[in-house]
Symmetry: C2
Subunit: 690 residues, 2 copies
C-alpha cells in the first residue's frame, strides 16, 4: 500500500490474532523487512546517537522515547512515575527518525517490550511473548507523511460532539444530584464557563453498570433534562465489571446468554472490582459486545449523550480464587519473627493480589462467539478497546445521526475509531503537566485525538498555582476536564482565591474554540496530528528536534506552557520569528513579534502565551459560558502576516455526522495590510487584528 | 545575641524539651515576636506575592519552598515524590525574603507543619502539636548573614576526612569480600578513581549491629587492611535496631543495663526491622547513648574509619504487639465479598503496619537516664540525631585526633555537628537530579555540609545517560557516592558502554578537589554555605531569585547541570558575565566568556560545564585515582580575571583536627595579565591559566 510518499508493507509472523486494528488491505512485504534485524523473539535496530524515536502513545517519559524501556501490557497504574514501563494502553507504533526514517507497527495484542536505547544506548530491541503478529513497515516520506499513512491504515479517528470541547468538571464523586446542582450553580453564578459535569462511580446503585442510585439521583431523566436546560451535559462512567447480584438484569442476562469471560472449566470468571465480585463481559465475543453495547441505551434513553469507560484494562482488585488462599497464607506468618526477607514475603501475599498476571492467564474469551476460546493473556491489550467498540458500534445502531461523547481509559489501535481516552489517574504533580504535553502528540500519532489529562491532577492534593498552570495548557487539549480523586483537596476553580484568573483562562478556551475545533476536525478527517512536536514541521532544524516542552497546535500556532512551580516565565525556542500573544483573558492581551532563536519569555501566573507562526491566523470567537453560547459565525482573526495567510477553516453543526460536506470548509485569505478575503458558504462576520 | 548584622531573639513557649540543637546562649525576646502573628497552635505570616521562602533542609519541591506544605516528622519515605510532606529530617528553619527579611527557627522535636502558601497563596502558617518550644527570630542583614547567624547559633558543622571527598561505590549489597574485591579491581584496572566502598546491611551477621558475617567477610580486619593498601576505605552501615537474640552481646548488655526504649509498662519495646524483632537503643538517654556510641569501637578496632547510620527515624516494619492483631484482622475478611470500601480496609490492615504513628506513641525514652520518661512521639525527630551524636561523642573519646567519616539518614539541627547526611532512598528519576540540586543549599543552610544524593538513583533502574548526567552534578557534592538498591539494575560505572566518559568525569572530581575541599572547609569553619542559590549573592537581581537549577558553589563558580533526558544542553542565566569552562576530562576543556543574560548552552552527554565568576579563580589539581594520590601542592589556577582575583585557599592534612591553624590558609592574588602572588606557608607549585 502506498499512502502519499509513504509505502507500507506487511510482514506476517506465525498466526496473528485478528485485532481489527487495521482497516486497509496492505501489500505483503517479501522476505524480511530490510531496515531491522530479526531475532528469535522480535527485532533489533542500531541507532546512531542522534536518531530520535517517536511514538508509543500513552506512556511515560519524553516525546523522544529514547533511553527507556516500555512494555505494552495494559495496566491500572495510578503512579505515572518515570520508572514505570506500562500505563493503560498498548500503542505499538514507533517512528525512527535519523540516519533512516521509518515506522513500525506491531499488531500484537499480547505483551510486547520496546527497549529503546535502555540496555544499550544505541540499540532498539522489540520483543514479543510469541512470534504471532503482523508487522507493518512504513517507509518513505516525512514524519508527518508516515503518521498520515499509519493513520490511514487504522481508520478515521473518533469525532466528539462540539459540546465536548467545552470545559468539564469532575470529581470522584459528586454523590448526589444536589451536589451536582451546587457545582453547576457555582459555575453559572460566577460566570465560569462549563459544559459538562462528570458522574463518577457513585451515581450507580452500588456500582452496578447501567443503574442509577435512585436515592441520590431521584428521577434521573428529569435531572438530565434540568441540566441540559442549563447547557450542562452529564457524563456517567461505565465500568468493565458487572456486579454479581441476583435480580440485577445485566448480570442475569449475561450469565444466561454465556456472555461473560470464562474459567478454563467453562464457569464464569469471578474477580472483584468496585462493586465487589463481578463478571467481565466478554468484549472479544461479537455477540457479547453487541449485547453490552446496547446496554448503554438505558442511559441514552434518559437523555445521556456522553460516557467514559473505566477500569477496562481490565483492572482486578482480587480474584475470588486467590483471595481465600492469600488470607490463609497470611495466617502462616502468625507468631513468626519476620526479618527483611520474610516480611517482604508477608507483604507480597496481599500486595500482589491486584492486577496479577496469574489472574489474567486464568480466564478466556469466546473470540468468535462460537466457542473458540483464547486465553485472556494472549489478547489482554484488546479488552478496553473492545469495550469502547461495543459502545461505539451500538451508538451507530442506536443513534446513527448523533455524536455521542465516548472516551476510555484503556486502549489499543483501532479503539481510536470509537472514542478518545483520558490520560488516566495522574497526580497533582508539576511533572505531570509536562507528561500531559508529551503524551498529546504521541497519542495523536496513534489516531487518538480526543484526549487530555485530569487538569489539576487526579491523585494527591493540588495547589492553586498548579491548577492555574495546568488550565493554561488544558485550554488547548480537546478534552478539557478538571478531575480529582476521593480524599484529595477539592479543586473546582470557584474554591480558590484566584478564581477570577482561572475563569478568564477557561473563558479563553471558548474564545479559541473556532480554531481548536477546526483543527481537531481537520486532523480527524485528514489523518493529521492536532498536536505535533516541533521536529515534525521544522525538519531541518536540529535544535527543534530536541524541544520536548513546546508543541505545534494545528496549522498556525505553537504553545509553550509553564510547568515549574513559582516560575514567572520560561525559556522558549522559536525556529522562526513568531508573534507572541499573551492573554490574561479573551479581551486582555498583549502582542509582540519575537525573532527566531532562544528567548526567556515572562509569563505571569495568570497568563497564557500563544505563538502565532508567520503568515498564519488564529480565528477566535468572542466567547461564551458554554459551547452553545459561542457564536461561530462572528470571528476575530488574530494573525501574524508579513505577506499572505491562508487559513482553511472547518466548522459544522457539531452534533451530526455530515463531516465531509464541502460546506463545512471556508477559506480565509489575509494580507499583510489586513485585507481579508473569505470563501465560504456560511454567513460570517469577521474582523482582522494583525 | 547579635551575629554580624543579624540579631537573634529567643521566645520561649510553654516548657520546651531541650534538644541541644543550639549551642549559644541567646537573649530572650520581649513579648511576642514582631514579624509574625501568634495563633493558638503556632504562627502565621502574610507574604506578598513576590516573597521567597528558603529553608527546611531535606524536603521535597524547590529551593523556594512556596506553594506546598511540609511536615517535620522524620519518615522512612522511599518515594521522594512531589506530593510528599515529610522525608527523613526535621529542619525547622526558614528565611522569608521579600517585603521583610527574617529567619525563624522553631526548636521543637515533635510534629510541626509549615504551610507555605499551600492553603492560601500568600499565607505562611506554622502549627505545632503543642506549644512547647523555643522560637528563634533572626532579623537584620542579608540572607547570607542570617544563615551565618543561625549556623553560629547551632554550632560548627561536622568535618569529614579528606579521603571522604573521593568517589565512593556502594550497593545494597556487596555480599562478600570477594565481591568488594571485584568492584575495587574493576575500578583500579580501568583507572576509575575510587576511595571508598560501602558495606550495606549484608556484611553483618544476620543484620546485627557491630558484627561481621564471618563467612562472607572472613578475617575482616585483614580485609580492611588489604583494602587500605589499595587506598580504599570500607564504610559499613549501622542500623538503629538491635536484634533480639540470646547470646548477642549488644542485645544482652542493652537489656541488662536498661538501655532500650520502653513500653509504658517498663518492658523493652519490640519492633521489627531488617533482622526481625529488635529493641531500639534509647538514644535520648545520655548513658545509653554513650554505651551505644562506644560500640562503634568494635569496627574502629578493625581499621574502619567511616560509617553511615541508617533506619534511624527510626523505621519500623511492624511492632510485635500490632502484627498478631493485624493477622487476626485479615482473617475477618475471609469469605467476604469485598467492595471498594471493604477492600480498602482489607489492604490497610497490612498496608499500615510500617512506620505507624500508633507505634511511635507507644514507647518511651529515659531522657535523663534517671527515669524521666518521655513518650517517643514528643521527641520523635531527635532519634537519628542522637544516634549519630552517640557515635560522634564516642569518636571524640576514642579517636580524639582523627576524623571519622559519619553520615546519617535521619537528622535534626544539632546533628550537623556530628555528621552529614545522605539524601535518603531516592530513585533513578531525572527529577531527582533536580531534587538533589534543590536540597544542597537548603541543607547547607541547616549546617549540613557533608551531603549528597545516591548518584544514579537508589530505587528503580538507572539508565546510562541518567548516571552520566548525575555524576556531572555529583562531582560537586561533598559526598559523592554511587548507590543502588537490591533488585535494581547494577550501576557501577564499569558496566556501561560509556565507562570512558564516566571515568573522565569522576577524574575531574579529583582535579577539582583543591577547590572543593577548600570551600567545604571554609564553609564549615566560617558558618557559610558551600552551595548557595543565586539569590543569596545576586541580591538585587530579581531574575536570579527565580533560578532553581543553577547553584553557586563556594567563592568563585556556578554550576548548571543538565537533568533532562536526551537533552544536549540547557538554558543558563548569568547574572553577570562569566567564563564558561566545558570539561570533557581534567585535561580536555574549552573556554568561552559569556555575557550576562540568558543563554542556551550546549553541554554534551559527556561534558561538565563550570562557570567562573569574574575576578575569580578555580584552583585545580592534576588529578589522581584516589585522594591520597592527589598532589595538593601542585595547582593550576583556572580563572576569569579582568582586574584582580583574590582567592583564600584552605588546605590541611585532611585527617587531623588542627582546623584553625593559620598555616592552613594561603592567599592567591592573580592579575589580569596572569601575574600571580602567593601568600602561603606551604611550598606550592602553581600555574595560572586565564
Amino acid at each position: 500500500m502506498t499512502s502519499g510518499k509513504c509505502r507500507i508493507k506487511k510482514y506476517t509472523y506465525g498466526t496473528p490474532f485478528c485485532t481489527d486494528a487495521v482497516v486497509e488491505q496492505t501489500a505483503a512485504g517479501e522476505g524480511s523487512p530490510s531496515f531491522i534485524t530479526e531475532l528469535d523473539n522480535g527485532f533489533t535496530y542500531q541507532m546512531t546517537p542522534s536518531d530520535a524515536v517517536y511514538g508509543l502513545g500513552e506512556n511515560v517519559r519524553g516525546i523522544n522515547k529514547r533511553g527507556w524501556h516500555y512494555v505494552s501490557n495494559n495496566s491500572d497504574e495510578p503512579n505515572h512515575r518515570e520508572d514505570r514501563t506500562s500505563l493503560y494502553a498498548s500503542h505499538n507504533f514507533i517512528i525512527v527518525d535519523g540516519r533512516e526514517r521509518f515506522g513500525l507497527f506491531i499488531d500484537y495484542p499480547g505483551k510486547l517490550t520496546f527497549d529503546i536505547g535502555y540496555t544499550e544506548h544505541n540499540t532498539i530491541t522489540i520483543t514479543a511473548e510469541d512470534m504471532n503478529f503482523d508487522l507493518y513497515v512504513l517507509e518513505g516520506g516525512s514524519l508527518k507523511e508516515i503518521v498520515q499513512a499509519f493513520r490511514h491504515l487504522i481508520g478515521r479517528s473518533y469525532i466528539a460532539p462540539k459540546w465536548a470541547f467545552g470545559y468539564g468538571q469532575s470529581r470522584w464523586s459528586y454523590l448526589t444530584a444536589d451536589e451536582v446542582r451546587e457545582v453547576v450553580r457555582k459555575h453559572r453564578e460566577n460566570h465560569i464557563p462549563l459544559d459538562s459535569v462528570y458522574l463518577d462511580i457513585d451515581y450507580m446503585e452500588r456500582f452496578k453498570d447501567f443503574t442509577i442510585d435512585e436515592e441520590a439521583f431521584p428521577d434521573f431523566a428529569c435531572f438530565v433534562e434540568e441540566m441540559k436546560k442549563q447547557h450542562i451535559h452529564l457524563v456517567p462512567i461505565i465500568d468493565a465489571g458487572v456486579k454479581i447480584e441476583e435480580g440485577y438484569d445485566v448480570y442475569e442476562e449475561g450469565v444466561e446468554k454465556g456472555y461473560f469471560c470464562k474459567e478454563a472449566d467453562g464457569t464464569d470468571f469471578v474477580a472483584a472490582v468496585w462493586p465487589g465480585l463481578v463478571h467481565f463481559p466478554d468484549m472479544l465475543n461479537p455477540d457479547a459486545r453487541k449485547w453490552f453495547g446496547h446496554k448503554y441505551k438505558v442511559l441514552l434513553d434518559q437523555g445521556i449523550d456522553g460516557f467514559w469507560n473505566d477500569m477496562n484494562e481490565p483492572a482486578i482488585f482480587y480474584s475470588e480464587k486467590r483471595i481465600a488462599d492469600a488470607i490463609d497464607r497470611v495466617q502462616e506468618f502468625k507468631g513468626k519473627n519476620m526479618d527483611l526477607t520474610t516480611f517482604e514475603e508477608f507483604k507480597a501475599v496481599t500486595g500482589t493480589l491486584s492486577n496479577n498476571a496469574e489472574d489474567y492467564s486464568s480466564f478466556y474469551h469466546n473470540v468468535d462467539g462460537k466457542g473458540t476460546m483464547v486465553c485472556h493473556d494472549k489478547v489482554h491489550n484488546l479488552f478496553g478497546y473492545n469495550m469502547t467498540r461495543a459502545a461505539g458500534e451500538a451508538f451507530e445502531d442506536l443513534e446513527p445521526d448523533k455524536r455521542i461523547l465516548m472516551y476510555s481509559r484503556s486502549s489499543y489501535p483501532g479503539m481510536h475509531r470509537y472514542g478518545g481516552i483520558w490520560q488516566g489517574d495522574n497526580l497533582s504533580w508539576w511533572s505531570h503537566i509536562e507528561l500531559n504535553m508529551h503524551m498529546m502528540p504521541s497519542l495523536n500519532m496513534m489516531g487518538i485525538l480526543y484526549t487530555g489529562a485530569d487538569l489539576g491532577g487526579f491523585g494527591a492534593d493540588t495547589t492553586e498555582d498548579l491548577l492555574l498552570r495546568w488550565l493554561e495548557f488544558g485550554i488547548f487539549t480537546p478534552l478539557m476536564r478538571n478531575h480529582s480523586a476521593m480524599g484529595t483537596r477539592r479543586q473546582e476553580v470557584y474554591r480558590f482565591e484566584s478564581m477570577e484568573a482561572m475563569k478568564k483562562i477557561i473563558g479563553l478556551r471558548y474564545g479559541l474554540l473556532p480554531y481548536l475545533y477546526s483543527e481537531y476536525m481537520k486532523a480527524a478527517l485528514k489523518d493529521e496530528m492536532y498536536f505535533r512536536p516541533l521536529a515534525f514541521d521544522y525538519t531541518e532544524d536540529a535544535f527543534a528536534a530536541k524541544v520536548e516542552d513546546q508543541l505545534l497546535l494545528g496549522d498556525g500556532i505553537m504553545v509553550a506552557p509553564v510547568y515549574e512551580q513559582n516560575a514567572e516565565g520560561r525559556y522558549v525556542y522559536l525556529p522562526e520569528a513568531m508573534k507572541l500573544v499573551k492573554f490574561r483573558s479573551l479581551t486582555e492581551r498583549t502582542e509582540e513579534i519575537l525573532p527566531a532563536g532562544h528567548h526567556y519569555v515572562p509569563i505571569a501566573l495568570d497568563e497564557v502565551a500563544v505563538f502565532i507562526r508567520p503568515n498564519h491566523v488564529l480565528p477566535m470567537s468572542y466567547g461564551g459560558e458554554c459551547v452553545d453560547e459561542v457564536d461561530f459565525s462572528t470571528l476575530q482573526l488574530l494573525g501574524y502576516v508579513t505577506d499572505t495567510a491562508v487559513y482553511e477553516w472547518y466548522d459544522d453543526d457539531g452534533y451530526g455526522k455530515d463531516y465531509d460536506n464541502p460546506a463545512n470548509y471556508s477559506t480565509f485569505v489575509v494580507k499583510a495590510d489586513g485585507n481579508l478575503e473569505v470563501k465560504s458558504e456560511k454567513k460570517l462576520n469577521i474582523t482582522v487584528s494583525l
